[in-house]
Symmetry: C2
Subunit: 234 residues, 2 copies
């Protein structure tokens, strides 16, 4: 972790420790330099990172302010670091339904940018939040990148394993959302009725070198699913 | 517009003009400097902006690559510059159902960070895409910021008017998504059946000084609504 990233984390911790709210003013630049014992250029880079992450906003000539939404219990739709990390404050568990190595369909191969002869890991699992069904997930991992998976890993966090176990660096993601009605099978998995509303989220996750490694489709329980999106100004 | 923003637009135009696809490599830094006739520090700031906007990704020691999702016809859930600007390539029209000045409910006042004695503009309209209903929208504008509105403005783009007519600078936004079933009234507006799926998006839009000016609730037609989210790596 680079110094400015470390300082950004420290500032974020400062905001939490002091229970600062949206619109609260942070110390001025000179004070932050002294407080964290770093140069002006480091503080500026830290603040830029925090602004990008939606933790603060800066108003020219006026100061640095805390940005913090007020509603609790919402899942961020912007994180691409996997649920378990994302929802650290939520008790997320998983039940693995299927785990196998197979040849991808044309759709899966296209989204992973591989050909249909290459192997993928296929994982189907139900994810629970507070012991209620949150979503049913079907994921396909490029096996030349995610070289090994088993039920134990898939019951826990696959993304933590890819990062820490396989040493891969996770980069950006593209997600596509649709609203529709549950079919019979989905309804059964989620404990709902056929025809009830659902949100499908298809995501292509890339390594930081731009290579797609995971194509997943999550079908959410509409009763549990509350989502949050922060957008920055341009 | 600052120089690096202008150059960022030029690079984006270059990508479009050359029909570059996801993963295509851009010229190296030195070539970009020459091509656009600017300094290294300007090019670097332009590239950082484009990375933030999800137009490119940079791989250390390897180069600058185009980031471009492949699916057409999706609405970005990240833009906070209003639909009409956002969906420039889509034919969006509006029908204004109600427009009045009123005292806000407690919920509206809280979200706009004003007290219930202050006036708000209330606008209810249906928005159409390709002449199909896209959503029904109910918005509340802090009248001390959005000092005037009429039906003609509300039929067109309210955000363009706030920016260009009132000279306000639009900043960040916070959105909350829920999936649920349409009630009778919503179904009628959207031309669907009661009980059909819907997505509700509540958004608080802030000026760049952090002041909330618009609290809106959009109820989407699930058949028309396809959404897209790009997330950057950390």
């Amino acid at each position: 972790m680079l110094k400015y990233q470390h300082i950004a984390n420290e500032i974020e911790k400062y905001i939490q420790d002091h229970a600062l709210q949206q619109g609260d003013k942070l110390p001025v630049l000179d004070e932050l330099m002294i407080q964290f014992g770093v140069s002006k250029s480091t503080i500026i880079k830290s603040l830029e990172l925090l602004e990008e992450k939606g933790v603060i906003f800066q108003v020219r000539g006026s100061g640095i302010f805390v940005r913090r939404h007020r509603r609790k219990g919402y899942i961020s739709l912007l994180s691409n670091q996997g649920f378990t990390r994302d929802l650290e404050s939520f008790p997320i568990t998983s039940k693995v339904l299927e785990l196998d190595i197979r040849k991808p369909s044309r759709e899966v191969a296209q989204n992973l940018n591989i050909d249909q002869e290459q192997d993928v890991y296929h994982v189907k699992r139900i994810r629970y939040i507070y012991e209620q069904t949150l979503c049913v997930e079907e994921s396909y991992y490029n096996k030349s990148i995610v070289t090994y998976l088993n039920t134990e890993i898939a019951t826990d966090s696959i993304f933590d394993y890819i990062r820490d176990g396989l040493g891969q660096k996770i980069g950006f993601s593209d997600s596509y959302l649709h609203i529709d009605k549950l079919n019979e099978e989905e309804a059964q998995y989620l404990g709902l009725q056929k025809g009830d509303p659902k949100m499908d989220v298809e995501t292509i996750f890339h390594l930081s070198n731009g290579q797609p490694f995971d194509f997943s489709r999550l079908t959410y329980n509409y009763i549990q699913a509350q989502f949050f999106i922060q957008a920055n100004g341009q």
